[in-house]
Amino acid sequence: MLLITCPYCGARPESEFRCGGEAHIARPPQPGNVDDTAWADYLFYRTNPKGVHAERWLHAHGCQRWFNMLRDTASDQVIGIYAMGKSRPDRPKT
């Protein structure tokens, strides 16, 4: 069981949450202007790393708010939690 610290509710068991997949995937601002390959990359292609993964989580059976999480996919260890809209903390700001 993962113990996940919701930034709004505190530490709660994994079963209250739902994973929303990879974080920081930006929707092309003008979908009509991108080709099929770029649109497919946005919709379907994923980084899928073995190691630190930035992903979105929803506190579905709680406050129903979204947040971002850094987790190691090899060990399932939670590394950090940060708010939606913030950039990835382990990457330099651009």
């Binding site: 994973c19 990879e22 992903e55």
Partner: protein, 416 residues
């Protein structure tokens, strides 16, 4: 050595002292025509069919761990071809036909047992959907029988037919479906490929894919560089990582799926039963343990072990279907890595890199596909073009919009 009743009898007389290792532990040569990355069921089957169907024997299979240490030894051993969509049915039916002749093909006992696969339905809507599926199967020459409640009751009387929330109304039966001894599939393919001259190299992780001018020229491995004319990737679970060595990004997420086995009991379940109201499938192994599984855990993971919420969910589904298993003790549970493709269907195709071929995205349906996957992948590599059976499993379908949404649930790995 060819296995036969005579070989068994003569070994019995010699006190079983003359059995030889089933395959050579080959040393890596400096160059091959074709190198297959991944010594699981699909990789070994590919090597076997390259040799058998196309006469290509200057082939190596590289395996990072020991042979069959991945998903071929971690699944629930079910085979079936009860698919709905035109891109899927002929492929999976070809797989079923290869299963039916597999043991003769390989001269190896893989314990193929066509004990039937029964998918239960619990509502009028689900019955109609199964009738449609059964009709689609029969139109493609696959066997399917729509059973009503009394017919199901005669087969498996111990289910909870009068469940208050999900009463069992009937089921769709594919009698040619069943189970196969999964490790024997890996061993049988390895032995048959080895006998035809294929080198199977274990403990040989691939650490790099070398390209020159947009073409693959070889692989860096734990045992040094190996030159390769063509490279086939058959490492589902880790496809994204291996493809990334060649700079490819894939429409795949790796998730963990757990499977379970109970303590051994006397013969109880003589078929494969799937619960239509939850995600749960169960059969009984020849050792007597009940083998069952359910959903993926729900988040990307390479951990090869699952978490307790999924265990609880699977066991609850089992209890809703067969309340009597509540008194059984769980013997073991384990996790395997699933290549969850975005539309729930696999990829067997060429890649944008010349000489590099991809076999990936099997979600949790890879085991039943093992023979046809190897057969089609071998064809794709040898002829440099897909066979009609795997023509729909293209890598570029995510850009062209030709997704294969078998379950009708949408294109997200957490939906199928």
């Amino acid at each position: 050595m060819r296995y036969s009743i005579l070989s068994v009898l003569s070994q019995a007389l010699q006190g079983n002292t003359g059995w030889k290792p089933v395959w050579r532990d080959a040393e890596l040569k400096p160059a091959y025509d074709i190198v297959i990355v991944g010594g699981g069921g699909h990789g070994l089957a590919t090597a076997f069919y390259l040799a058998k169907e196309h006469g290509l024997t200057n082939v190596a299979v590289l395996e990072k761990g020991w042979l069959g240490s991945g998903n071929v030894g971690r699944n629930t051993t079910i085979i079936r071809s009860n698919y709905l969509l035109p891109g899927n049915i002929p492929f999976y039916e070809w797989s079923m036909k290869l299963w039916e002749g597999l043991e003769q093909d390989l001269n190896y006992n893989a314990m193929v047992s066509q004990r039937g696969v029964l998918n239960l339905y619990h509502s009028d809507v689900q019955r109609d959907a199964y009738a449609r599926r059964g009709n689609a199967m029969r139109l493609h020459g696959v066997d399917a029988d729509l059973l009503d409640r009394e017919q199901v009751k005669a087969l498996v009387p111990y289910l909870d037919f009068d469940n208050a929330r999900f009463p069992i109304q009937g089921g769709l039966m594919q009698r040619r479906g069943g189970t196969v001894r999964h490790d024997a599939v890996a061993w049988g393919y390895a032995r048959a490929a080895d006998q035809r001259g294929v080198d199977i190299v274990q403990n040989c992780e691939v650490t790099g894919i070398r390209l020159e001018g947009g073409r693959v020229v070889g692989l860096d491995t734990a045992k040094g560089f190996v030159r390769a004319g063509k490279v086939g990737l058959a490492c589902a679970g880790n496809s994204s990582r291996v493809a990334a060595l060649a700079g490819l990004r894939l429409p795949i997420e790796s998730h963990v799926l757990q499977a379970f086995v109970s303590e051994g009991i006397k013969p109880l379940i003589d078929t494969v039963i799937t619960f239509g109201a939850g995600h749960f499938y169960i059969s009984q192994s020849d050792k007597g343990g009940l083998v069952f599984g359910g959903d993926i855990d729900g988040y990307n993971s390479y951990a090869q072990r699952g978490n307790l919420p999924a265990v609880e969910d699977v066991c609850e589904s089992g209890m809703a279907l067969m309340p009597m298993i509540g008194r059984l003790r769980l013997l073991r549970s384990w996790g395997g890595l699933m290549d969850m493709s975005m539309d729930g269907s696999p990829i067997i195709d060429k890649t944008p890199i010349e000489g590099l071929y991809l076999n990936a995205g099997w979600c949790y349906g890879g085991f039943k596909a093992t023979p046809a996957s190897g057969w089609c992948f071998a064809h794709t590599i040898a002829r440099d073009e897909p066979h009609t059976l795997n023509a729909a499993y293209r890598l570029d379908r995510f850009a062209t919009g030709h997704l294969i949404d078998e379950k009708g649930a949408g294109a997200q790995p957490n939906l199928h």
